[in-house]
């Protein structure tokens, strides 16, 4: 369903992704682990083309992201077409990035109205439903700064869901939260996984990975070192670097 092949990405002289190949099946949860600076965020940002790749391709449901193939040539798509492609890919940021001047409800409804071109009343109706789904139906009128971190992240998840994406990318959705707020956000992710949402989650929550992931991917310095079921990667890692990393996060 999602096919990433041969993705290279450099920032100036630094090569951050050194050839990533990864396939994600529809309806599965993939958790990406790896030390800081290994390129996890960059990989997610390449999938929805917040970053341009230097080489390699990303396909979602067979559709090439950012390019159009004509014969054996790849033609770069216009900014407008790329924006339309992004509608199918949700993104949840580490620091939420909610729109502070809009209420929780407006945050969720905005893109459904302007990017998915639903009428305002349809967008708001769905936004109410989604806020109920993340257990925030009573805070619809609150501005982001009036909400706790956990609540803000749940609004951000509802906002991503409002586009009914084929795939949602989560970049460390809980690492800006106080420990006691992590649980409420992970609960929402668990519900989404159970409902069969296709997700790629970068996280350091090993317990969550073990419980929810179908595939665990371990990255180090721009490469995928190993991938497999949680039992394979977390309990019987084959590579020394994976073992070293796990021994540090599991203490």
């Amino acid at each position: 369903m999602i096919e990433i092949s041969g993705v290279h990405k450099s920032f100036g002289p630094i090569e951050v992704l050194k050839g990533i190949d990864l396939t994600v099946e529809a309806g599965t949860v993939t958790v990406i682990l790896g030390p800081s600076g290994s390129g996890k965020s960059t990989l997610l940002r390449c999938i929805n083309r917040l970053e341009k790749v230097n080489s390699g391709t990303v396909r979602v449901d067979g559709e090439l992201i950012g390019y159009e193939q004509r014969g054996n040539r790849l033609h770069e798509l216009s900014e407008r077409r790329i924006l339309q492609q992004r509608v199918g890919i949700g993104f949840v940021f580490q620091n939420f990035n909610l729109f502070p001047h809009l209420t929780a409800l407006q945050n969720v409804a905005e893109a459904r109205h302007s990017a998915l071109r639903k009428t305002k009343s349809q967008a708001y109706e769905k936004a109410h439903e989604l806020l109920a789904l993340v257990d925030l139906w009573d805070r619809a009128g609150a501005y982001p700064r009036q909400l706790s971190g956990g609540q803000q992240q749940r609004v951000a998840i509802a906002r991503a869901l409002a586009l009914e994406p084929k795939l949602i990318l989560f970049d460390e959705p809980t690492s800006a939260l106080d420990p006691e707020l992590v649980g409420e956000v992970l609960d929402v992710l668990r519900d989404l996984a159970r409902a069969g949402t296709t997700m790629i989650v970068v996280t350091h929550e090993i317990g969550f990975a073990r419980e929810v992931a179908d595939t665990v991917v371990f990255m180090d310095s721009g490469r995928i070192v190993e991938q497999g079921t949680p039992a394979q990667v977390l309990d019987h890692p084959r590579h020394e670097r994976t073992r070293a990393f796990l021994s540090k996060v599991l203490v």
Partner: protein, 306 residues
Amino acid sequence: MSVLTPPRQAAAAGDTDGDLVVVPARHPWRWAGTALVLVLLAQLVHGLVTNPGWDWGTFAGYFLEKSVVDALLLTVGLTVAGAVLGFLGGIPLAAMRLSANPVLSGVAWTFIWVFRSVPLLVQLLFWANLGYLYESLQIGIPFGPGFSFPTVSLIGSFGAALLGLALHEAAYAGEVIRAGLLSVDQGQHEAATALGIPRWRQFYRIVLPQAMRAILPNAANLLIMLLKSTSMVYVLAIGELFYQVQVIYGRNGRVVPLLMVATVWYVILTALLSILQFYVERHFARGAVRTLPPTPFQRLKAALRK
């Protein structure tokens, strides 16, 4: 769990916290300062009222006189027109300076450099004398045939005034708007892009309202400066407020009271603009602060209720 119960020693000797009385902090220096300011203010008012040089009778006679009020309206008109044209010009200038295209940003940079360098007074005189430089203006195919107009009749002194004020204002407004747009966090652009919100909508729904927080105080400054800059168009013999009071004191020689007429009107207009600024800023503060600051009326009501 004993850890969760707060220590109770503070309320020893049998009291419970409920019986404690709050004594507000006292500020003796505030009272001393207030008294000093009041004395100085009383002296100032006394001087204004008793010194015959101020000639308040003449002041009152001309304050609402028809020619003065007409001139005042012209001043307001020039300010509004200059501000609207200036800010309409400032938006594309800001967008061009932020553009990745070096030609566009270079053109905007040069425009801003030129019109911030030339003193407004010089610019006004320059535009008014454009007719000496180019006797006619042509519209048509570049280097080809076209219609031509005599420059003097096309621009006129009023047009020159408006052109000068608008270009001057646009150069400054461009920078004020650019500063505002830069103040919006990169994450906001990314979130809007990741949601696939169309470019134009990203600008006016997501970025601009947040930029307004940083734009408004500076824009208000600019507007108030423009209000007073309109007094410079007196060099083009346009009958705005400052020109008109000069005409009158040229006739009757009462310089000070007539300057006071203009001054008091400028003060009143600035006050109105400042009030407008408060409410507009409050509107755009939604979401940026947890609770909005109370309006003066709400403050008054709260004070009376006590």
